[in-house]
């Protein structure tokens, strides 16, 4: 075990050396600095994940239990009280759970990134550290917690017989080739969401150093965003003009969560969530749009952060 770890890091450092070689001259010092401080990134992620549930009796189990309870409560409210049924053939509980996992990763990651620079002002005032490490570690920590909570979704897909409905295979053959491929497709919206959250997090963390209002405004905005994203309703429920629907679809989270759900629940027998005859679970346009928005936010967030970071210390 230890030996493979060493080999892996050996491979990784060889890769890093290769990356350094092909980088243009101007980027090299930045890369070298990142390589020096990547251990800090690791330590911060480790710390955030460890401390998240330290002191609680269930510990890390909370990362499964919490989304589970959330989905249970909401599906009780909507199924028992509002008589909400399946969404396009997908059990309402699963529909909720899948959307909520994606959305809460986004909202947790961006809001903890937003606070990260101010929270670590004590260190930033004393020791030289590349400042972006802090928002970056906040997003990556939330990402790790999100990945840790994904098994709960897998478990309930098995419970609801979803794996069998889709592939006509039993749990014993869960990881057949077909499902492998499907997992890869599910990774695409997840990775794009990570990029998007990173961009938004960088942007917010630098703005909130100068204007504290950002934190209050953003918490209200996240609330609004939650209602504008089809988490507990189906996109088909939206009964407004086509124009307004288009605006709602412009929300990148709308696209990302729909893509994610399509991969998980799409099967030839069950009607699709969005009219989509595409065998690749999501359309090229949808993919292109969210990838474009995520990259724009990453670039804008990175540039704003870089331009303002020297002034942080004067405002912290």
């Amino acid at each position: 075990m230890a030996k493979t770890l060493v080999q892996e890091t050996g491979l990784l450092s060889a890769l890093c050396v290769q990356i350094e070689r092909i980088l243009p001259r101007g980027l090299k010092p930045h890369w070298q600095r990142f390589m020096k401080y990547r251990f800090l990134l690791q330590e911060l992620v480790r710390k955030n994940v460890r401390l998240q549930y330290r002191g609680s009796a269930l510990g890390l189990l909370w990362s499964f239990v919490q989304p589970l309870l959330f989905a249970l409560v909401l599906s009780f409210v909507f199924s028992a009280i509002f008589k909400r049924g399946d969404v396009s053939g997908v059990p309402y509980f699963l529909y909720l759970l899948s959307g909520r996992l994606m959305f809460s990763f986004y909202s947790d990651a961006t809001s903890s990134a937003m606070r990260s620079v101010r929270q670590n002002s004590g260190i930033l005032k004393k020791v030289y550290v590349p400042k972006y490490i802090y928002p970056m570690s906040a997003v990556v920590s939330r990402f790790v917690m999100f990945l840790l909570s994904l098994p709960v979704l897998v478990v309930f897909m098995v419970v609801f017989n979803y794996v069998q409905i889709n592939d006509g295979i039993s749990f014993g053959h869960f990881f057949t080739f077909g499902y492998h491929l499907r997992v890869l497709y599910a990774l695409v919206p997840i990775v794009i969401l990570l990029v998007f959250a990173m961009g938004v997090g960088l942007l917010l963390s630098s703005i909130s150093v100068f204007f504290r209002d950002t934190e209050y405004i953003y918490s209200v905005f996240t609330q609004l965003l939650m209602y504008l994203t089809p988490l507990f309703y189906s996109p088909d429920d939206i009964k407004t003009s086509e124009g307004l629907k288009k605006i709602l679809r412009a929300n990148p989270l709308y696209g990302l969560i729909t893509m994610f759900r399509n991969v998980l629940f799409y099967s030839p027998g069950v009607p699709d969530l969005v009219a989509n005859e595409n065998p690749f679970f999501y359309s090229g346009f949808q993919l292109g749009y969210v990838a474009f928005i995520a990259s724009v936010f990453l670039i804008v967030g990175g540039v704003v952060f870089k331009l303002t970071q020297d002034k942080f210390i004067l405002h912290l």
């Binding site: 800090l40 330590e43 710390k47 401390l51 330290r54 005032k125 004393k126 020791v127 204007f211 020297d310």
Partner: protein, 254 residues
């Protein structure tokens, strides 16, 4: 010709002191639109140039507000100077307000890794000196206790032990040698002496003139952001004594 460790050339640092603090959007926009975003300029450092060679120990003297801490922040890279250039060669370990990088909920042992990483060291590098740090800080029995339950002395000891054990090329000390009880202080000075022998470069800020004279071989004296005296430690200390004696001492402080 000895190697250069730190070189500053014509470094100036400007602060904009807002007459009123503007940190919310509403005020900012109102002031922006009515062109009332005015600042008082304040120069924390003016035209500071000096060179520290490898292995030299530079004491930085000056009264409160003379710019000592700003200077250390510029050297450690925390602040970027408004004008001028800064060159440093080697790893810098700042010992500014010990334990600023600790997470209170994290145990002492875990904080060693965290603080080590903050100073730019890998987990494996820290692992090699972990036991040494614990022993030096005399925290064997408390290493699994969260740092929030530490006394301030324990926290300072841990911070000091980490910064010294990582074996930096340049050590920045800001009034930190007043750590812990007398035996520990003696141990600290002994540790710093042994770092001297290894050829570490030191920048040391203190009001304790006797300590500066004991630890440093060179010194600069700052007043209102300018260097007004530089050279070997005893001659600068003499100027400092003369200057500070001329000013009435603040009553109430000791």
């Amino acid at each position: 010709m000895a190697e250069v460790a730190v070189r500053l050339e014509n470094v100036s640092m400007r602060f904009n002191l807002n007459r009123e603090r503007v940190d919310n959007l509403k005020e900012y926009f109102i002031k922006f639109l009515s062109h009332k975003l005015s600042y008082n300029e304040f120069w924390g450092l003016r035209d500071v140039s000096f060179t520290v060679e490898k292995g030299e120990r530079l004491g930085i003297l000056g009264l409160n507000g003379a710019g000592k801490s700003t200077l250390l922040k510029v050297v450690s890279g925390v602040m970027r100077p408004t004008f001028g250039t800064l060159e440093t060669y080697g790893d810098i370990a700042p010992l500014l307000e010990l334990g600023a990088g600790f997470d209170p909920a994290y145990s002492g042992g875990e904080n060693i890794y965290l603080y080590g990483a903050t100073l730019g060291y890998s987990r494996n590098q820290v692992k090699g000196i972990w036991q040494e740090i614990v022993d030096f800080a005399e925290l064997q029995d408390f290493i699994d206790v969260p740092v929030k339950n530490y006394s301030s002395g324990m926290r300072a000891r841990l911070g000091f032990a980490i910064a010294c054990m990582v074996d930096p090329d340049i050590l920045i000390l800001d009034e930190v040698l007043a750590v812990g009880d007398k035996p520990f202080r003696v141990k600290c000075e002994a540790k710093i002496q042994s770092l001297f022998e290894k050829g570490v470069t030191v920048l040391f800020v203190s009001h304790n003139l006797e300590q500066v004279q004991r630890l440093c071989n060179k010194a600069i004296l700052l007043e209102q952001g300018r260097i007004i005296a530089a050279g070997d430690v005893d001659s600068v200390a003499a100027v400092y004594q003369e200057r500070s004696g001329a000013r009435p001492r603040l009553a109430g402080k000791k």
